[in-house]
C-alpha cells in the first residue's frame, strides 16, 4: 500500500468512527429527550458552527501565511458588519442603482461591496502595522494586534453609535418549518453561505495564487527563491482573512442571534470561536471548518441537554473550552494541526 493510500484509508476510518459515534450519541439523546430537541439543537449548532467556521477560517488563513495571531479578528468582524449595515440601510448602495432586482440580491450586492471595503481595510492594517513587524518575535506581533483590536473596536463602536444598527437583510424575522423544527431563514442562509465560502476558499488554494500562498506558509525563504512575492501573499491573506471575518460578523448580527443588528458587543463574539480554531489546529484549513462546526454543535448540545441546575448558570458556555482542553491533551496540535518538529 502506498503512503497516500494508507493515509486515505486512515481518513476513511476516522470518518467512519466519527459517524458511528455520532449515531450512538444521537440514539442515546433521542431516547433521553426525544427527537425534536435533537433536531432543534442540531439546527442551532450547525448555524452557530457555520459562523465559528468562517471566523476560524479567516483566522487560520492569516496565521498560516503570516504567523500572526490576530486578536483584532473580532473587531474586524464587527467593522465588516457595520459596513454592511451602512451600505444596505443608510446608503442603499448599490441597491439604489438596480431597483428592479429582488431584495435578497440587492442586499447581497451590498454585502459584496462591504466585503471589498473590509478586505481593503485588512490590507491597510497589514501594510501599516504588521509589515514593519516581519521577523519580530511572534508575541510582539500578537501584542500589536491587541493594540489594533482596541483601536478598531473603539472606532467601530463610534461608527455604530449608541444603538445597534439593523443590517437591513430581506429575511428579517421570517421562519420556516423543516420537518418538526422551526428554523429562521437567516440560519439557513448562514449555513449555506458558509458552505459556499468554504468551497471557494478550497478552490482558491488550488489556484496559482493559492499554491503560492501554501508555498509561503511552508517556507518563506524557499518561496521567495521560487519567485513568489511574499509581501503580496501577506497582503492577500490579510484581505481574505478580513473578508471572511467581516462576513462572519454579518451572520452573527442577524435575527435571531442578535435581533437588533450590529452593536458594541458584536466584536466580542469572535472570542467564542477561539476553541474552534485550536480544536482544529491553528494552521489547518480543514481543521478550522471541522473545529467550527464541532464547537458549534458541542455548545448547542450542551445548552440543550446540560440543564441540571447543579452545574450552575452558563455551563454550556465553557463546554467548548473543556472539549478543546480534552482534545489538546490527546492531540497537542489540534485535530489537524501540523506537529512542530522539535530539533535540538
Amino acid at each position: 500500500m502506498t503512503v497516500a493510500a494508507a493515509e486515505r484509508s486512515r481518513t476513511v476510518q476516522w470518518i467512519g468512527a466519527t459517524a458511528v459515534g455520532a449515531a450512538i450519541l444521537a440514539a442515546v439523546l433521542i431516547a433521553w429527550k426525544g427527537s425534536e430537541l435533537l433536531l432543534d439543537a442540531t439546527a442551532n449548532g450547525l448555524s452557530l458552527g457555520a459562523i465559528y467556521a468562517l471566523l476560524a477560517l479567516g483566522f487560520v488563513i492569516i496565521f498560516k501565511a503570516t504567523q500572526v495571531v490576530n486578536f483584532a479578528h473580532g473587531a474586524i468582524a464587527a467593522l465588516g458588519a457595520f459596513f454592511v449595515a451602512y451600505f444596505a440601510t443608510v446608503l442603499n448602495f448599490p441597491g439604489r442603482l438596480a431597483t428592479g432586482l429582488p431584495a435578497w440580491l440587492q442586499w447581497s450586492l451590498s454585502v459584496v461591496v462591504a466585503v471589498f471595503v473590509i478586505a481593503f481595510a485588512g490590507l491597510v492594517i497589514e501594510r501599516v502595522t504588521i509589515r514593519p513587524m516581519v521577523g519580530e518575535p511572534l508575541f510582539a506581533i500578537a501584542m500589536v494586534t491587541i493594540g489594533l483590536d482596541i483601536v478598531v473596536r473603539t472606532v467601530t463602536v463610534d461608527f455604530i453609535g449608541a444603538d445597534p444598527r439593523p443590517l437591513g437583510d430581506p429575511w428579517a424575522a421570517s421562519t420556516r418549518e423543516l420537518g418538526s423544527v422551526t428554523v429562521a431563514d437567516t440560519e439557513i442562509v448562514t449555513f449555506f453561505a458558509a458552505l459556499v465560502l468554504v468551497a471557494a476558499v478550497a478552490w482558491f488554494f488550488r489556484s496559482k495564487t493559492g499554491v503560492a500562498m501554501r508555498a509561503t506558509a511552508f517556507d518563506q525563504e524557499a518561496a521567495r527563491a521560487q519567485g513568489i512575492s511574499v509581501g503580496r501573499i501577506f497582503a492577500i491573506s490579510w484581505m481574505i482573512g478580513a473578508a471572511l471575518a467581516g462576513i462572519a460578523g454579518v451572520f452573527s448580527s442577524l435575527f435571531p442571534r442578535a435581533a437588533t443588528g450590529v452593536g458594541p458587543t458584536t466584536a466580542f463574539f469572535a472570542f467564542r470561536a477561539f476553541p474552534a480554531i485550536i480544536l482544529g489546529g491553528l494552521d489547518s484549513i480543514v481543521g478550522a471548518v471541522v473545529g467550527g462546526f464541532a464547537i458549534g454543535l458541542a455548545e448547542s448540545f450542551a445548552g440543550a441537554y446540560f440543564t441540571w441546575s447543579g452545574l450552575g448558570s452558563g455551563f454550556a458556555g465553557i463546554v467548548p473550552y473543556l472539549v478543546m482542553l480534552l482534545v489538546l491533551l490527546i492531540r497537542p496540535y489540534g485535530l489537524f494541526g501540523t506537529e512542530e518538529i522539535r530539533r535540538v
Partner: protein, 441 residues
C-alpha cells in the same frame, strides 16, 4: 580594571544582582525617590522644604502608584513564566483570582450573610492570608503545569485562555466564596493583626501618624529633616505595597541567577537540548508555573484588598491581556523591562486622559496657534466637525473617552513597531549609543 562595564574578573562579580556601580546607584536612587513620595514628595530640611515630587503625594496619584506596585508583582510573576521560562500564558487573571478569593475566604469577615446564604470568611490576619493566597495559587498552578509539558507554544496560550473562561463559570457557581456574578464581595483590608484582636496592630486603611518614621529615625535625622507627623491611608498603603514589591523584585532578579532560573532559560531556549543536558522539562515547567502563580496569587490578593470590593467579572481576559502587555511592552525576560512595562500600562490611561482634557481646555478656552490648530481636530458641538468631540451625547467624532482608548491602543502599536523588544530595548539602544559616544560603535 575599574569602570569597564562588560569586564568581569570573577564569576561572582558577573553573577551579582547589580553588577555595575551605575546600576547600584540607580537602583538605590529609585528606591529612595519612591520612599520619599509618600513622605510628601520630598524633604523638609530645616526651614526650607524641597518637594519636587509633591504632586505625586496626592491621594489619587498615590493610588495609581500603588496599583503600579501591585501590577508589577503580577507582571514579575508572568515574566518568570513567559519571559524567563518561555511558556506563554493568558491565564494570569485566573491565578490572580485564586489568590484574591483565598484571601477573601481566609481573611474575610466571619459570619457574613450574603443573599445566597453564608459567605465564607475566617477573619484570619494578613500574615496568614497574604502568603496563603500565593501558596494556594501556586498549588493550582502546579496542577496546570503538566498540560504545558504536553501542549506547547500558542496552543498553551489558548489552553490558559480557557482557564479564564472556566474560572468565570466557577466564580459564578461558588457564590459563597465570590459573592456572585455582578454582586461581588468585600475583601479583607490592609490591617495588620497578630491574631483576631479587635484593634489592629497597624491599620493601613485609615489616616494617622506616620508609622514609617519612628522615634529612632526621627532621633537620628530629626535635627535636620522634618518628617511629616501625619500620613494618609494612601501613603501608608503605598509604602506597604512598595516594600512587598521591592522584596518580590529582588527575589525575581535573584531567581535568574539560581540553578532553577537557569533551567527555566534552558527550557525556553531549546527544551530538548535542555533535557539532554539533564534539565528536566516537566520539573522546570512545574517550578515555573508554581513560582509564577505564587506571584499572581499575591498580586491578586493585594489588588482585591486594595480595591476593597470586586465583582468576579473583574478577573477577565482583559486583565490577563493587560499583564501580558506589561511584560511585552516592557521587554520580556528582564526584570527592569517588566517594571517599566507595568508603569507604562498603568500610567498611560491616566496620562492620556490628562492630555485630552488639556487639549479640550486649550481649544475651548485658549487662544493662539495651539488652540487654532487644535480646533481642526476637536469639535465642540453638533455643527462642528472634528476628529474628537468634547460635547457629550451623540455627536459626530470620537468622544473623549473613545479618544483615550484609541490613543492607548495606538501607542501600544507604535511602541512595538518602533522597538519590538519593548521599553527595555529602547533603553539598551540609548545606553549603547552613549557607551560609544561620540563614536557610532
Amino acid at each position: 580594571m575599574r569602570g569597564r562595564p562588560n569586564l568581569y574578573v570573577s564569576y561572582e562579580a558577573e553573577q551579582s544582582l547589580l553588577p555595575t556601580w551605575t546600576q547600584r546607584i540607580a537602583a538605590t536612587l529609585v528606591v529612595l525617590v519612591l520612599v520619599l513620595i509618600p513622605l510628601g514628595g520630598g524633604l523638609e530640611v530645616g526651614e526650607s522644604s524641597f518637594r519636587p515630587l509633591g504632586f505625586l503625594a496626592d491621594a489619587d496619584w498615590l493610588k495609581i502608584l500603588t496599583q503600579v506596585g501591585i501590577f508589577a508583582v503580577a507582571a514579575l510573576g508572568l515574566n518568570i513564566l513567559t519571559g524567563v521560562a518561555g511558556q506563554v500564558s493568558l491565564g494570569h487573571a485566573f491565578f490572580m483570582a485564586i489568590g484574591a478569593y483565598t484571601a477573601a475566604v481566609l481573611g474575610g469577615e466571619v459570619g457574613a450573610e450574603g443573599f445566597f446564604g453564608p459567605r465564607w470568611g475566617m477573619g484570619l490576619p494578613i500574615w496568614i492570608w497574604l502568603p496563603a493566597a500565593g501558596i494556594i495559587a501556586a498549588l493550582i498552578g502546579m496542577l496546570v503545569a503538566p498540560t504545558a509539558v504536553r501542549v506547547r507554544g500558542l496552543y498553551l496560550a489558548f489552553v490558559t485562555l480557557g482557564l479564564v473562561f472556566i474560572g468565570e463559570w466557577a466564580y459564578r457557581t461558588f457564590v459563597s466564596i465570590t459573592g456572585g456574578s455582578q454582586s461581588g464581595r468585600e475583601f479583607p483590608g490592609f490591617e495588620i493583626r497578630l491574631w483576631k484582636e479587635e484593634t489592629p496592630l497597624l491599620d493601613l486603611t485609615r489616616d494617622g501618624p506616620s508609622w514609617l518614621v519612628v522615634n529612632w529615625v526621627d532621633w537620628l535625622l530629626g535635627p535636620w529633616i522634618n518628617f511629616p507627623d501625619e500620613m494618609s491611608e494612601e501613603a501608608k498603603t503605598f509604602l506597604f505595597v512598595l516594600i512587598l514589591a521591592v522584596v518580590f523584585v529582588v527575589l525575581a532578579k535573584n531567581l535568574q541567577r539560581t540553578r532553577i532560573g537557569r533551567s527555566f532559560m534552558a527550557i525556553r531556549d531549546r527544551d530538548i537540548a535542555a533535557e539532554i543536558m539533564g534539565v528536566g522539562d516537566a520539573k522546570a515547567k512545574l517550578q515555573a508555573f508554581a513560582i509564577s502563580s505564587f506571584y499572581a496569587g499575591v498580586a491578586g490578593a493585594l489588588f482585591a484588598a486594595f480595591v476593597g470590593r470586586l465583582i468576579p467579572e473583574s478577573f477577565n481576559l482583559f486583565l490577563s491581556v493587560q499583564v501580558l502587555a506589561m511584560i511585552l511592552i516592557g521587554g520580556a525576560g528582564t526584570v527592569a523591562g517588566t517594571l517599566l512595562g507595568s508603569s507604562f500600562v498603568i500610567l498611560l490611561p491616566r496620562l492620556v486622559r490628562d492630555f485630552s482634557s488639556w487639549l479640550t481646555e486649550t481649544v475651548e478656552e485658549g487662544s493662539g496657534v495651539l488652540a487654532w490648530v487644535g480646533d481642526f481636530f476637536v469639535s465642540t458641538g453638533q455643527d462642528d466637525w472634528g476628529l474628537v468631540s468634547t460635547a457629550s451625547g451623540l455627536t459626530p467624532g470620537l468622544s473623549v473617552a473613545q479618544l483615550n482608548a484609541v490613543l492607548y491602543g495606538a501607542l501600544i502599536i507604535v511602541f512595538l513597531i518602533f522597538e519590538p523588544l519593548g521599553l527595555y530595548g529602547i533603553w539598551i539602544r540609548i545606553r549603547n549609543y552613549w557607551k560609544g559616544w561620540p563614536f557610532t560603535y
